[in-house]
């Protein structure tokens, strides 16, 4: 690009930025009070709408002038709804689990009486002498926010807030560079695709850039479908402009004039914020024709997927946009050679796209400084299941699973012990306690038998039955198989059937071998990534928890006492209190009877093993026992009906 047009470009952007900063200053005027409420899906689900209404009501009642700014997700889902109150004389303070009642209390105590209500706050957003800084806690200071740096801190529906915080400056920088220079920068950064496989991003871009065809397309893959994973959704809901900036840079680098965000229709809020963000960017000339006065044009469209898991696979995703059945196609040809409508197409995950602006802004060397040699940068996980502080975590690659689960996420609740962690969703594997020191990076996780996947992480405590966990994931993949190829369509169903019969105590000798053999063949023979990775939960649970499989098959025993057919409840007559009726009413099948000496017994023939009796037995008696195999439950006969009716 010529020097004078570079200057012009910077000038155009400088005026946009000045405008944004002015608006930002006005909004955050020195005397005004700002209430930031986390209103991404996680916040809304925990009641943020009611909290917002409560604040509004209190303000109008008391005539307080304060501005409410809806923001995205901070990643601390365990503490939602989260509210940050920023007012003069105090550091911005983060409050957790805010209810409408708490909101009213905060208005009265804090806004009116200057009492920051220490018992309800999580910490201060800035270092100060009054309130502990959030960065003093592991859940905050062990994270490294690159992609999520502004998540939960700005209004996703206001482009000016993003611009005022330095947004779109990477795009300006990119437009002053040659396309090759951008690809080189990405190459130097070592960025690997965040969709799961960890393919080097610059290679994909280079292939599309080098393709002879003139029309090229960029697709941002937001078809996140793993059970328990919601990273892409949160990013789009919290800071869509960073993704759009990344898409724009990537389109410029590969020479595309069209881009598509493929996002599932089940993410209505993400669709809405992304749509709005695209409109706003267009309005101020950051998208559309002649971006920032250059001759670079880009249109971004949104395509709403209909919720098939397999459409996260890039070739199936492309089929789906073309209006065809979402079935993966053999590669080669790769989408970078022949993709959407036969044109060279670069398909990148949301997190990959959102990593581009910081890389261009701060440089490849800075990015390489985060994470490990072969996996630079950060990893975003949605850590769910049996952890204290569940939510989204962005950590530098190379942090161990132990640090992530026990330090950052606070460990296992209810004094239970850690059993396994499932990484990478249904395509990933279950790793046991002995793998906790595995560093989190693409290669180490693959080596351990799991995979980075898109970033779902389910932590399980001692109560999880690993055979049942494998069954759960296979049930998912089997249903989500597109039915195209033999191994995936029929093979996963056989895996599921064998796992089901094992959990029902009908396992046969040789079933473990059959599962292993079939798994290997399905991995080697399947057409696409879904089938190739579907057996991973089976393979890893057998590898690390073989004794549980054996207990199910040989002893008809479920060590975790989760498989219903293999467990039984009974009442310990030595502990049961004579005359106590607490459990009787809780039983939905009237299986609890009174013995001759007025204690209770369970009729095993009609018991459905719901566990309600155990929950309702007063702790001072603690008389209900759960055992596996069911034969361990002592037989207590129901006395003959002696009461005559009528």
């Amino acid at each position: 690009m010529k020097q004078n047009s570079k200057e012009k470009l910077k000038e155009v952007f400088a005026s946009i930025k000045m405008d944004a900063e002015r608006r930002f200053r006005e909004m955050k005027g020195d005397s005004s009070q700002n209430i930031f409420i986390g209103m991404a899906t996680c916040g809304l689900a925990s009641g943020a709408t009611d909290v917002k209404a409560a604040f509004e009501e209190a303000f109008s009642e008391k005539g307080i002038s304060a501005r409410i700014i809806p923001v995205g997700c901070l990643g601390h889902c365990y503490a939602e709804p989260l509210v940050i109150i920023d007012r003069p004389g105090f550091p911005p303070i983060l409050y957790h689990d805010v209810t409408p009642g708490k909101a009213k209390l905060l208005v009265k105590a804090f806004l009116e009486e200057d009492d920051p209500v220490f018992e309800h706050l999580l910490g201060a957003m800035e270092k100060n002498d009054l309130i502990p800084w959030i960065m003093d806690f592991a859940r905050f200071n062990q994270e490294k926010r690159v992609v999520m740096a502004n998540s939960g801190l700005l209004d996703p529906e206001d482009i000016y807030q993003y611009v005022a915080k330095g947004g779109y400056s990477a795009l300006v920088k990119a437009l002053t560079l040659e396309q090759e220079e951008i690809i080189h920068e990405i190459q130097d950064s070592g960025l690997r695709g965040r969709g799961g496989a960890g393919f080097l991003t610059h290679i994909k871009w280079q292939l599309v850039r080098d393709a002879k065809e003139k029309d090229k397309i960029v697709i941002c893959n937001a078809d996140e479908g793993d059970p328990g994973a919601y990273m892409d959704r949160t990013i789009l809901e919290s800071n869509p402009h960073q993704v759009i900036e990344g898409i724009t840079i990537s389109a410029y680098a590969v020479g595309a004039k069209k881009a598509i965000v493929y996002v599932r229709a089940e993410y209505p809020l993400a669709v809405k914020t992304t749509k709005k963000a695209i409109e706003q960017a267009k309005e101020i000339g950051l998208l559309g024709k002649g971006i920032l006065g250059t001759d670079f044009d880009l249109d971004i469209a949104i395509f709403e997927g209909s919720g098939a898991f397999v459409c996260g696979e890039e070739t199936a995703l492309i089929q789906s946009i073309q209006g065809k059945r979402g079935m993966p196609q053999p590669r080669p040809p790769y989408p970078s050679q022949r993709g959407l409508w036969g044109k060279p197409t670069a398909v990148n995950n949301v997190k990959t796209m959102a990593s581009i602006p910081p890389i261009l802004n701060k440089g490849a060397q800075w990015y390489r400084g985060i994470g490990t040699e072969r996996s630079p940068g950060t990893a975003i996980f949605s850590v769910v299941g049996n952890v204290l502080h569940a939510g989204l975590v962005e950590i530098p690659m190379g942090v161990t699973l132990r640090t992530l689960i026990f330090e950052i996420c606070g460990g296992i609740p209810n004094q239970k012990s850690f059993k396994a962690v499932q990484i990478g969703g249904p395509s990933g594997g279950c790793l046991p306690g002995s793998s906790l020191d595995t560093p989190i990076d693409f290669d180490s996780l693959t080596q351990a038998g799991a995979m980075m996947g898109s970033g779902g992480m389910v932590v399980m405590d001692e109560d999880a039955c690993m055979v049942d966990v494998a069954r759960y994931f296979l049930d998912f993949t089997q249903k989500e198989s597109c039915g195209k190829c033999t191994f995936c369509r029929i093979g996963t169903k056989h895996l599921l059937d064998v796992l089901e019969r094992i959990t029902r105590g009908k396992g046969r000798q040789g079933d473990i071998g059959l599962l292993e053999d079939l798994s290997l063949d399905i991995k080697a023979g399947s057409l696409c990534g879904l089938g190739k990775t579907a057996p991973n939960p089976v393979i890893t649970t057998i590898k690390y928890f073989r004794d549980e499989y054996e207990a199910h098959i040989r002893e008809k025993r479920c060590p975790a006492m989760m498989c219903r057919t293999l467990t039984a409840y009974y009442i310990d007559l030595d502990k049961c209190a004579r005359g106590c009726d607490a459990c009787v009413g809780s039983c939905p099948t009237e299986s609890i009877f009174t013995t001759k000496n007025r204690k209770k017994g369970i009729d095993q023939t009609s018991c459905v093993k719901c566990g309600e009796c155990m929950a309702s037995c007063p702790p001072e008696y603690d008389a209900v026992r759960k055992v596996s195999p069911p034969e361990l439950a002592p037989r207590i006969e129901r006395p003959q009906e002696t009461v005559t009716h009528g």
Partner: protein
Amino acid sequence: MARLIVDNKQIETDDGVTLLQACLDNEIYIPNLCYLKEMDNPPGSCRLCLVEIDGHSQPITSCTVTVKEGMVIRTDTEHVRRLQRTAFELLLSVHRVDCKNCPANRKCELQRIAKFLHFGLKLVRLDQLERETTVVQDHPCLEYVPTRCVLCGKCVFVCQKKNGQAVLSFAKRGLDTVISFFGEEDKATATCEECYACAEVCPVAALLMKEQ
């Protein structure tokens, strides 16, 4: 012209053809169900035509590989045979074996493959997966038998090719996947009555002309 070495034997073939086609043309049989010579982009869905190619660590479907001068291929390694036998066994586990009463008897591709792989038509390792529907009679002139269907998709391909727009396609997901006419039965009648390309191409008599 490209020269390849297949199972230690040199063969010559036209450029641009698929490896599977090159082998079949040279009388080297590789089991296959979903491939047709006329396909530009073979679906690679039956996963039977696997071969090992020098330089690749894993078996590859030969229908999705274009021949290259000097390629060295093995069609009969232990790994290839193991995967083919498993794939065949899987197909068999959803196929109601009733050859005696099946119109495809003696010209059935499954029988041919079973013979080639020395694989009996009885399941040893796996249980039979039963299906609810055995025959679909919705179409005015075609009968569909899901318990025979191997979902190769040849019927969809030939219909599309012959009529521009296929009147049948895949429906549902996972093991429930079937070939469906999507309620286009009436509209389709006119063309279907003179066509029957789908029934002709079906390798296992899962699509049949209805007896009038």
